[in-house]
């Protein structure tokens, strides 16, 4: 009885829809170019949000704003009810792989560990607890089998999992994953997507997952966030992936075609929906 009371006292607030990220008339203009223009949205804690939109629509910029790296030109952004700040330990971030120096001859395990307290001064020595944390992260993404190999020897999919492991260090409440599926074949895309879903339920985290292709995330995401033309649309796939919602964002009339449980967005006149990019912008 007493234990139950204690547990109740320590339990997080019971409001099931506490916001993880709130945008209020937010305008983002990296290098002076407005990519999001006075947009508002509320992403709830524990949600898996797929973030889509043409190149340059502001997917990465939005993630950088959540990280506190891209200041708002106007409006506000709140992360767990506070202004965004750099180095927020509650956020795990996975940048796009193409910025990774792939030629390094360093063990995968060590590369993952680099992100743990990476900002502290001194020699990169790991405590026993640090090593346990790295081991846990590697096990969570099923990367133990290749943890002792060097980065240069790994496939694209294996590297993605390492970066995901890195994002999981210190068990964040919010995961920002930037294009984790780029360069992976369809089967591996589905595997990474369901892996992220499993990790999400394990941590109870909120996930923002940017992607070019909708279908790999169809079974795993709770809501889709489409960016384009300075605006956004947020809702379930059925609510958002409709011609009248997406055409203004893509600034061209688009059709939505459903085929055997898959969804394709394509321009009304002429173009093709291409496998792997699935949109009129390709």
């Amino acid at each position: 009885m007493e234990e139950q009371l204690l547990a109740a006292a320590h339990a997080p607030p019971t409001d099931p829809v506490a916001p993880a990220v709130e945008l209020e008339r937010l305008t983002l203009a990296p290098r002076g170019r407005v990519v999001l223009d006075a947009v508002s949205a509320r992403l709830d804690e524990g949600e898996f949000i797929g973030v889509f939109g043409p190149n340059g629509a502001g997917k990465t910029t939005l993630l950088r704003a959540v990280l506190g790296l891209q200041p708002a030109r106007a409006g506000t952004i709140r992360v767990f009810a506070r202004a965004p700040r750099r180095g927020n330990a509650a956020i795990g971030y996975m940048p796009q792989t193409r910025t990774l120096n792939l030629d390094v001859h360093l063990r995968a395990r060590d590369v993952v560990a680099v992100a743990l307290h990476g900002g502290r001064w001194g020699w990169p020595r790991l405590s026993r607890a640090d090593r346990d944390e790295v081991r846990w992260a590697l096990a969570t993404v099923e990367a133990e089998a290749f943890a002792e190999r060097t980065l240069a020897e790994l496939s694209g999919g294996e590297r993605q999992r390492l970066l995901l492991a890195q994002a999981l260090l210190q068990r964040p409440r919010l995961l920002l994953l930037d294009e984790p599926l780029s360069g992976l074949d369809i089967r591996y895309q589905n595997r990474v997507a369901s892996l992220v879903r499993r990790v999400q339920s394990l941590l109870g985290a909120t996930v923002l997952f940017t992607a070019h292709e909708l279908n790999a995330l169809l079974g795993v995401m709770d809501r889709a966030l489409y960016l384009g033309g300075g605006r956004l649309a947020l809702g379930t796939v059925d609510e958002v992936v409709r011609p009248e919602v997406l055409s203004p964002l893509f600034q061209t009339p688009v059709d939505v075609v459903r085929h055997r449980g898959r969804v394709f967005v394509m321009p009304v006149d002429g173009g093709n929906a291409c496998e792997g990019c699935g949109g009129p912008w390709a």
Partner: protein, 264 residues
């Protein structure tokens, strides 16, 4: 008479060891960061500093060091912003080399030492130069050890590091200042044109055959030391220039590392 009974040989071994133990570890991070070209450029820039020092009557080492420090910071600040880093580095290099030529033109009395400046003269190092080299080197290694953790983070994953609150630019500029010191030291052994032999050859070989940072750094320092001492010994017995032997050994170590990497 053994070679160690000559004072100039003892000085050469001591100075060579100091320089190698600095160039190895700094070079390892230089390779890791894909910044070897910047190291090369810094040494050329140092040429202007060294010849300019002759004009105002201070020792070439200090002129060289001042110039590499200033341009190291410059490359660091510019490099983060301009995407074509090679272009920024190349332009700094050309302007400085031109300046060096101008200084030489005005101070013809210095021309005799130009050969040593360009190709190094380890057997001619003065005894009094050892202490400054040791102090500079110790300071450089101490700062490197202190910043090694964020440096590693920023080198491997600049975007993630930035998100975690580590400034890639601050760390990058600080590191290039260390490179400036290492370059200034290395020119005392192999001269401006052969700095790659100490700063990059052993480091690249070590990076290739090791899979962890600690081993890589230690091996890099060890290989730099072996190459330097090997070069001095070979020069003693053949009477060929030590700089030739050092660069030849450096090249051999690098080539050998590819063979070793293929076998393991």
């Amino acid at each position: 008479m053994t070679m160690l009974s000559y004072e100039f040989m003892r000085t050469a071994f001591t100075a060579g060891a100091i320089v190698a133990l600095v160039a190895g570890p700094v070079g390892y991070f230089l390779v890791l960061r894909n910044l070897t070209f910047a190291g090369h450029a810094l040494s050329h820039v140092g040429f202007a500093g060294a010849t300019g020092a002759g004009l105002v009557g201070i020792k070439p080492l200090w002129g060289l060091l001042g110039m590499t420090l200033v341009s190291g910071a410059g490359i660091g600040v510019l490099g983060e912003r301009v995407s074509g880093r090679d272009v920024a580095v190349g332009i700094v290099l050309v302007v400085a080399l031109g300046l060096g030529t101008l200084f030489l033109h005005f101070y013809s009395g210095y021309a005799g030492a130009t050969q040593a400046l360009l190709f190094g003269n380890i057997l001619g190092i003065e005894r009094s130069a050892v202490l400054p080299l040791a102090l500079l080197g110790a300071a450089c290694l101490a700062v490197l050890a202190l910043m090694s953790r964020p440096l590693l983070f920023v080198s491997l994953e600049p975007e993630l590091a930035e998100a975690k609150g580590v400034s890639p630019r601050v760390v990058g500029v600080l590191f290039l200042l260390l490179v400036a010191v290492a370059v200034a030291e290395a020119t005392q052994v192999v001269g401006i044109l052969l700095v790659f032999a100490l700063l990059v050859g052993p480091a690249a070989a070590a990076e290739r055959v090791s899979v962890s940072v600690g081993v890589g750094i230690a091996l890099s320092a060890l290989l730099a030391l072996a190459v330097t001492w090997g070069g001095i010994v070979a020069a003693y017995y053949t009477d060929w220039p030590a700089s030739f032997w050092i660069s030849a050994l450096s090249g051999s170590v690098y080539a050998l590392s590819h063979v070793v990497a293929m076998c393991i």
